[in-house]
């Protein structure tokens, strides 16, 4: 019986308690005391007189204790009783939730003991109602907080959409520090490049004239209060541009916020002849091939670099020929580039091969633009050689690092999944990467993408569906 004798009082150290006093001891040392038999039937019930909230529980007597427990509490009680019956002592407190005709619930923390060998069990309970009420309040408060976070999320979505759909350059600026707190995509595209860190950017840092940066925010704030616009020259992606800044001011969370709209006024022009000279010089000295064709792809002008790349000896060997004759995938490549440039005005990057007059292939990347929308306007191709790492500018050390990283990836994978899983998954990923690349190259033209991949259109559709592209 004394499985944990160090935690129990020694036998005989407590005098025998006479029955007329025992009830009082039990009733006052607990809030509720239950005497149950082997069938878990309540034989007797004692309530602490100071505990009025339970009311009259005399109807529990003669009924099973499990009738007055919530579903999840029943297995806990049965498990404790099984332990007692097998001779173990239940030293931990048993938290049970009572129900009475589904009218009310209350949690009690019981100590459970056997009274002798006749199977009688006594449960001495401490009321946890106060703790439970606090817990309920806590849960309610937490749900309220969660709900307000969800509402904030909804407002955030509206705010972001509103910003992104505003076509003017717009920024919200802290009037104290000049920090750009929020800005819309038009503002970001005007003043920053992809990959620029937009954290901690201040409005004054955009000013072309550094000397004017001090006091600039004050100037804008005064204009906002005075309800007039300010003209300033700002640094943009396209150089220095004079903007008309339309500021307004409001307060939020104790801060003064400037909401500014930026309207470009004029683009500063430098000598046009100087520009033409520079462009001609770039055309002749560029390490990339610069080719002008008509809208059918017939080469009109090119610089010397194309001759190097195609192993041609004279400009006459290339001028008046169709560019497709030099492209790895011939007319398919040319058709894709021309279709996209005629549709959208420019193709940023297109990867293919260039064929030399000896039949060898060189990996290239081309960017294409259309100079005017006129049918007689020329198409400009800038073609650069993509150097392979084996003879390229990439250093040996960087190759080694990449290789090491790749090997680490492979080592991490091996062992954590079967070879079959790795191969199946990797094959799917490769298919996905290639199909996405083909769709990107063809500007989402599925028929052209299927041609590029050497697939039937039907097979491509099946793969698109399977890979969820």
């Amino acid at each position: 019986m004394k499985t944990n004798s160090d935690t129990l009082l020694e036998f005989g150290s407590i005098p025998v308690i006479e029955p007329e006093y025992l009830g009082g001891v039990l009733a006052t040392s607990s809030d509720i005391a239950l005497l149950v038999d082997t069938n878990i039937e309540i034989n007797s019930l004692l309530l602490n007189k100071s505990e009025k909230s339970y009311g009259n529980l005399n109807h529990w007597i003669g009924r099973k204790l499990t009738d007055f427990l919530t579903t999840e509490s029943i297995p806990k009680l049965l498990s404790a009783i099984t332990k007692l019956e097998s001779g173990e002592t239940v030293l931990y407190g048993l938290e049970l939730n009572h129900v009475d005709n589904a009218q009310w619930q209350f949690p009690i923390r019981y100590n459970i003991h056997r009274l002798g060998n006749d199977g009688k069990i006594i449960l001495l309970g401490r009321d946890l109602q106060t703790v439970s009420e606090n817990q309920q309040k806590f849960v309610k408060a937490q749900i309220a907080v969660e709900q307000s976070i969800e509402e904030k999320r909804e407002l955030d979505a509206h705010f972001k959409i509103l910003l992104s759909k505003t076509t003017d350059s717009l920024a919200l600026i802290n009037a104290g520090s000049g920090e750009v707190m929020f800005s819309n995509p038009t503002f970001q595209e005007t003043f920053f490049r992809d990959g620029d860190d937009l954290e901690n950017i201040s409005l004054q840092s955009l000013l072309s004239n550094r000397a004017e940066r001090k006091g600039f925010i004050e100037k804008i704030t005064i204009a906002a209060h005075g309800n007039y616009d300010v003209s300033e020259e700002l640094n943009t992606n396209k150089g220095e541009i004079i903007f008309s800044i339309n500021p307004d001011i409001y307060r939020a969370a104790g801060q003064q916020i400037l909401i500014c709209k930026f309207f470009p006024k004029t683009i500063r022009k430098k000598g046009e002849q100087e520009l033409i000279d520079n462009l001609l010089s770039t055309f002749h000295n560029s390490p990339d091939a610069i080719i002008f064709t008509d809208i059918k792809g017939t080469i009109q002008y090119t610089n010397e670099r194309l001759l190097d790349l195609t192993n041609s000896s004279h400009k006459n060997d290339v001028v008046s020929k169709n560019l497709s004759e030099f492209l790895g995938r011939g007319e398919i490549d040319l058709a894709i580039m021309l279709e996209n440039v005629l549709k959208s005005g420019a193709v940023k990057t297109y990867s293919t091969h260039l064929k030399s007059s000896f039949g060898t292939k060189i990996d290239i990347e081309a960017s294409v633009s259309r100079n005017t929308s006129d049918d007689n306007g020329l198409i400009a191709f800038i073609v650069r050689e993509v150097l392979s790492t084996s003879g390229s500018s990439r250093s040996n050390s960087s190759q080694t690092t990449t290789k090491n990283k790749d090997e680490i990836t492979a080592k991490e994978l091996v062992g954590s999944a079967t070879l079959k899983e790795i191969v199946t998954d990797t094959t799917d990923v490769i298919e996905k990467i290639c199909i996405e690349a083909a769709l990107e190259i063809t500007n989402n033209n599925r028929a052209a993408a299927a041609d590029l991949l050497g697939l039937s259109r039907q097979s491509l559709y099946v793969k698109l569906s399977k890979l969820e592209i």
Partner: protein, 263 residues
Amino acid sequence: MVEKNIKNNLNSNELLISNLVFSALKTSKQHLTRPANPEWIEHAGQLLFTSCLSKTFEKDRALSELVALGFKTDTIVDHCIPVAATLLGDGWVNDTLSFSECTIGTSNLQILLKFIGQNRERACDETSGNRYLICSHETEQHTLGALIIGDMLRRKGHSLKVQLSTNYDEVCRLQNNSHYEAIFFSCASYLSIRETAKCVRQVKKTLKQSVPIFLGGSNIEEISQGVDLSCFDLVTNSLSAVNDYVSNKKKRELALDAGALIQ
């Protein structure tokens, strides 16, 4: 010159294919390593269980511990937090934890979940996915499940309204105003599942247009015994089953519309 070019071309192709394969391996690694190993998830769940009960619980530290073990935040949300929550529930059932400790522990898990959600960059354009109403009934005190489902669905590009501690009137009002494509209830207790089923029966009777209503919860099989769940269109914990159900329903409706137009 010719030889050199041919050689370069071959090397270039080999290198490109090799890069492609390693890129594919890297992508595969993200979803094959940790989640494929249940022991790791159990281990991480146990760690999280211990840290969410600590008096000095800090969300940043709890997160960085798991990230240092190689877990992605998505894996932490989808697998580790649910394991830790289950361990908390088991702790109460086995009387090793009081309900107060369970409440505090669960609350800390919710703090961690929120922290991960707030730090994740989310595309604000959620136009491609479905529109769901995620609910927990007012008799349900466990809201972690609903919030985890919310996070998982949002990551897949679905647009959601999460309504905790809701009731029949509110569900009808929201559905009539916004015509969600499906309603999802999360349940975790014996009492709330009965009340939720009762609420859904009323909702189904009241709404003029039929809307699929789903039920989910980590211990749904256990708590739903003896409860009439026929009012739910699907009782599942599989999000793909839910999404497939909604997509198929949309397709059927489109086909019916097309048929009606032809006639």
